[in-house]
């Protein structure tokens, strides 16, 4: 059996979504997964606070959601990028907005680093 990961060797700027992350992020990811149902997206859009109340989120998670702080949701709360992206239809924020935030850049700064940014 070849070891597949070397946990002593963290990869700079990288989170590996493993059991520890998945445990930590279970609540927020389940919340985000609920956005695969149109009725839940509609409920969130109608009243964010009420919809958040119906899930057992922590206050920290709720504040990051209010602030559209995706970096907080991912780095601090264990959010999985594929789940967090599902918030996009309601928040209006796509992958590159989230990515720029993760990199600590503006959307335009991030776009300027791409090869053919028309393919977005």
């Amino acid at each position: 059996m070849t070891a597949q990961r070397d946990k002593s060797r963290t990869i700079p700027g990288t989170t590996v979504f493993d059991g520890a992350e998945s445990r930590k992020g279970y609540r927020i990811n389940k919340f985000a997964m609920s956005f695969t149902k149109p009725e839940n997206r509609a409920a969130f859009t109608a009243n964010e606070e009420t919809y958040m109340e119906s899930w057992s989120l922590s206050e920290k998670e709720r504040q990051f959601l209010r602030d559209r702080d995706y970096r907080g949701l991912i780095d601090e709360c264990g959010g999985n990028i594929y789940m967090i992206m599902k918030l996009g239809t309601c928040t209006g924020h796509g992958l590159y907005h989230v990515g720029a935030q993760l990199r600590g850049q503006t959307f335009e700064e991030f776009m300027a680093t791409r090869n053919a940014s028309g393919a977005r």
């Binding site: 070849t2 070891a3 597949q4 990961r5 070397d6 060797r9 990869i11 700079p12 700027g13 990288t14 989170t15 590996v16 979504f17 493993d18 059991g19 998945s22 279970y26 990811n29 389940k30 985000a32 997964m33 956005f35 695969t36 149902k37 149109p38 997206r41 991912i74 780095d75 999985n80 990028i81 594929y82 789940m83 992206m85 599902k86 918030l87 996009g88 239809t89 992958l95 590159y96 990515g99 993760l102 990199r103 600590g104 991030f110 680093t113 791409r114 090869n115 053919a116 940014s117 028309g118 393919a119 977005r120």
Partner: protein, 279 residues
């Protein structure tokens, strides 16, 4: 006897689906993506496959972390188009071949692959973008499908070697089927990309091109890659590439390359390779 007539490795970047639905095929930055699939479409039209076995991953559409399978196989009559959070794409539902799926499940399980068998499964960009790009599909799809979903999003993931062995077992299972079916296999996902952390947007063109070389000529070298190595080199989400090894494991011996392309416009190395066995 059923036989495998070709294998395709391809990225499954979701934005391609959106661009397609918005009719952006001719926009300058998108055109290279859509154009490069045209020869593959033509090749597939000539190959006339009956079934496509599509190795992909569910990114939180029909599966969640409550119960996330390492390997799952669809065994449904029909695979509905899933809603990933931004509504249903305007594509026709995808037909399955449940008899063939159950045949494969039986062979794979008896051969010590511990499949989760799915009789209800909606499919999503991991599956649909490759299908969308490779097959005309209005008003309906020209092939039946067997979705095979691999966990590449929540570690521990299956090893690269395990994915390759799954491909070899799929080949055995296909050849053990008495129906006269022509089968193509898809390995999807990748290439280099990272969608988290400050390294978001990491690309590695050299790694990707080397992978494209080796998937054709030396797949065993690729089976030795650890997840750590792939992630360090090509980004955390580049581990999706292990799914290409399942496609390649289902092809026997030296192969003939029909088509190859690479393009990395935004945050993901978009690779494409089409392979046939030497006659």
């Amino acid at each position: 006897m059923a036989k495998i007539v070709g294998g395709i490795g391809t990225s499954h970047v979701p934005s391609i689906g959106k661009a397609y639905d918005m009719g952006q095929q001719e926009e300058p930055d998108w055109k290279p993506v859509f154009d490069t699939y045209k020869p593959v479409q033509k090749w597939l039209a000539d190959l006339k496959p009956d079934v496509a076995i599509v190795v992909y991953n569910d990114h939180g559409s029909s599966m969640f972390f409550d119960k996330y399978p390492t390997f799952a196989i669809g065994a449904a009559d029909t695979y509905p188009i899933g809603d990933e959070g931004w509504g249903r794409r305007p594509l026709p539902d995808v037909p399955g071949n449940p008899e063939f799926s159950w045949h494969l499940a039986e062979e794979l399980v008896y051969n010590e692959f511990d499949m989760t068998v799915c009789q209800e499964l909606s499919v999503e960009h991991g599956f649909l973008v490759p299908m969308n790009l490779c097959f005309p599909h209005e008003p309906s799809w020209p092939v039946k499908t067997v979705p095979i979903a691999v966990n590449v999003i929540q570690h521990p993931l299956p090893t690269a070697m395990r994915c390759y062995k799954l491909g070899q077992a799929i080949r055995q299972a296909v050849e053990a089927c008495e129906d006269d079916l022509r089968v193509v296999t898809f390995g999807t996902g990748g290439m280099s990309h990272q969608l988290n952390g400050t390294r978001f947007g990491h690309l590695n063109t050299k790694f990707d091109n080397d992978f494209l070389d080796k998937i054709e000529s030396d797949p065993l070298a690729l089976t030795k890659l650890t997840h750590q190595e792939i992630m360090e080199e090509a980004g955390a989400e580049a581990v999706e590439l292990i799914m290409w090894l399942t496609m390649r494991g289902a092809l026997d011996g030296p192969v003939r390359r029909v088509h190859r392309n690479y393009y990395a416009p935004m945050t993901t190395g978009m690779g494409l390779i089409a392979l046939e066995e030497n006659a």
